[in-house]
Amino acid sequence: MKYERIAITPKAIEVLNQLKEKHGELIFHQSGGCCDGSAPMIFEKEDMYLDDSDILLGQLEGVNYYMNQDQYEYWKHTHLTIDITEGRGSSFSLEIPLGVRFIIHSRLFTEEESKALNP
């Protein structure tokens, strides 16, 4: 059985598809820190410089989801579901002009998921 670290809700997929249509290829990057941090950011694929320190958590509707290595160390035991909510986060994330904001719901991995994903 295949286990995933991330998932996305149908409502969030709608927004994601809207953004793909407008901007082309996209990536998610998990932010940390102040204000609008600790939330997913979505950018045009070429906008953000990524390297080995960015961990690929998975792919959502063809969009890669990254998190920085040191943040990942504290998050890797949790499953993330990307959802969408009304709101007005600042930051450069592309959904903001739509009056919505991607957010994350987390849960602990089950024992089976843990064995498979964090052996």
């Binding site: 102040c34 204000c35 909510t85 709101g87």
Partner: protein, 499 residues
């Protein structure tokens, strides 16, 4: 004892080149109050063209402004301070409406502090000097400070006027022209300030652009005719801004938040006196400004032998905090600044519970009555757990405290420094050795010792590690907005003799 929602115009504009101007493409966005989710006003949804106009105006103004005397610039900064002070109540009320924070905070903290930062930098440039060194009998090295030129500043929504007043005065005092973008959640006090001070500075010296990050923030941060970018916000946007700056080889300063430890050693409970009372309040300061502070003391570390007795007091004091209408002067905890913040905080409380943290108080949204039922309120919450939990590692930016105990100094330091961030920390003790040694061993830019959440001008503020770099609220910040011109002068009449 109470206030109510202030009056606004239907629509506001950008402030460019000394005038209020509509956005080029005529688009606006609705700004709502988080207190009751009602409409405040429309603000410009600026785009690249608006940013270009502001950058152009600043570039035209920069040479003349850079050559004004320190006397003139200081007088203008003081005038801004006087104008805010003369309208303190109006600024406080608008800030409360826009951000959701209690009126007692805006009246007594946000606005008075903002005023003082303008005065501080007005004073700094009258007192500081360049330097000159006689390198040998005939050679003088002279250092003259020169402005960078045009500065872009992007500020957050947690202390809208105060963050503006941390950013604008040092840049202006140093002789730069500025384009500032307020956060789209809280555009109101920046606009009110421009209304009050429209004639204070020459056109183009101060420019305010409203709008969204991807549409207005990005073209501003990446603009080739901007000489420096200052940013307060989160890490991913911080990284992006540094990338853009790297294309222009521009300097940047970054303030990116933290997960600040607040450490209480057992000696705080040696006596039941004023100091213990102060210490308990110090622990409850996690709920100040609804936890929407970069230096929120969101990790509470308590020595194990006083843990139960101390926490009993902290929980009781937290429960006594009045969460009600932010316009009421007795209210201590108001609304979170936006719906997405509210949802994010609740989601963190949920994962905290799932990870096994024990809820000592709060743990849920706060439902207020009447008009406030549509606002974004969260109960001050204390979660007991351990430092590897996500609620101990991530900035929640809400009134959520994660508490754990430690055995001795070594363990306190190990936990305190086990974080990606290093902005603030608190140390509470009656032991004279700990008062010095513990703060020195904590990797953070600001350590409050037997106090917390004080932000006076004249004390430098900034981060270690992933909290960023640069030191604000201090004359040090001036050098983040300046170049050094070194003039190397020879008074020797004789040639080198090489050619």
């Amino acid at each position: 004892m109470g206030y109510s929602k202030p009056k606004f115009k239907d629509k506001y504009e950008n402030f460019i080149n000394g005038k209020f101007v509509a956005p080029v493409d005529g688009e606006y966005f609705d700004n709502n109050s988080p207190i009751d989710n009602t409409f405040i006003a429309k603000y410009p949804r600026s785009k690249k063209e608006d940013v270009n106009n502001a950058v152009e105006a600043a570039n035209v103004a920069k040479d003349a402004w850079g050559n004004t005397s320190a006397t003139e610039r200081a007088a203008m900064l003081n005038k801004v301070a006087d104008l805010i002070e003369a309208n303190l109540e109006e600024f406080a009320l608008v800030e409360t409406c826009d951000n959701g924070k209690p009126i007692r905070e805006t009246l007594n903290a946000d606005i008075p502090l903002a005023i003082d930062h303008w005065r501080y930098f007005a004073a700094v440039i009258r007192a500081e000097e360049g330097s000159a060194t006689e390198l040998d009998a005939n050679t003088l090295s002279m250092n003259i400070k020169e402005p960078l030129g045009v500065v872009a500043q992007i500020i957050p929504w947690n202390f809208p006027l105060l963050m503006l007043s941390w950013k604008l005065p040092p840049a202006l005092a140093a002789g730069n022209c500025v384009i500032l973008k307020p956060a789209e959640q809280t555009p109101s006090t920046a606009t009110l300030l421009m209304e009050k001070i429209a004639d204070v500075f020459p056109p183009g010296v101060v420019n305010i652009i409203h709008g969204f990050g991807p549409e207005a923030g990005k073209p501003l941060a990446s603009h080739s005719k901007v000489d420096k970018v200052a940013f307060t916000g989160e890490t991913t946007t911080g990284q992006l801004i540094m990338q853009y700056a790297s294309k222009n080889l521009n300097p940047v300063t970054m303030e990116l938040g933290g997960k600040s430890p607040n450490i209480f050693f057992n000696s705080v409970m040696d006596a039941d006196d004023e100091f213990l009372d102060k210490a308990v309040e110090g622990a409850v300061l996690f709920a100040f400004n609804q936890g929407e502070v970069c230096t929120c003391p969101s990790r509470l570390l308590v020595q194990e032998d006083i843990y139960d007795a101390f926490m009993e007091k902290v929980i009781a004091r937290t429960k006594a905090a009045i969460q009600a209408n932010p316009y009421d002067v007795n209210t201590m905890v108001g609304a979170q600044a936006s719906n997405d913040q509210y949802e994010k905080i609740l989601s963190y409380i949920k994962i905290g519970k799932e990870e096994g943290a024990k809820v000592l108080t709060g743990g849920e949204a706060c439902k207020l009555d009447g008009d406030l039922a549509n606002g974004f309120y969260i109960q001050p919450t204390i979660l007991e757990g351990h430092n590897k939990m996500r609620v101990f590692q991530e900035e929640i930016f809400g009134p959520v405290l994660a508490v754990t105990k430690f055995k001795d100094e070594a363990e306190a330091l190990e936990i305190a420094n086990d974080t990606l961030y290093g902005l603030g920390a608190g140390v509470w003790t009656r032991d004279a050795h700990q008062l010095y040694q513990i703060p020195r061993a904590i990797k953070a830019g600001r350590v409050w010792v037997n106090c917390y959440h004080a932000y006076p001008a004249h004390a430098p503020f900034g981060g270690y590690k992933k909290s960023g770099f640069g030191r604000e609220t201090h004359l040090m910040m001036m050098n983040h907005y300046r170049q050094t011109k070194n003039m190397l002068i020879s008074y020797d009449k004789n040639k080198l003799g090489f050619f």
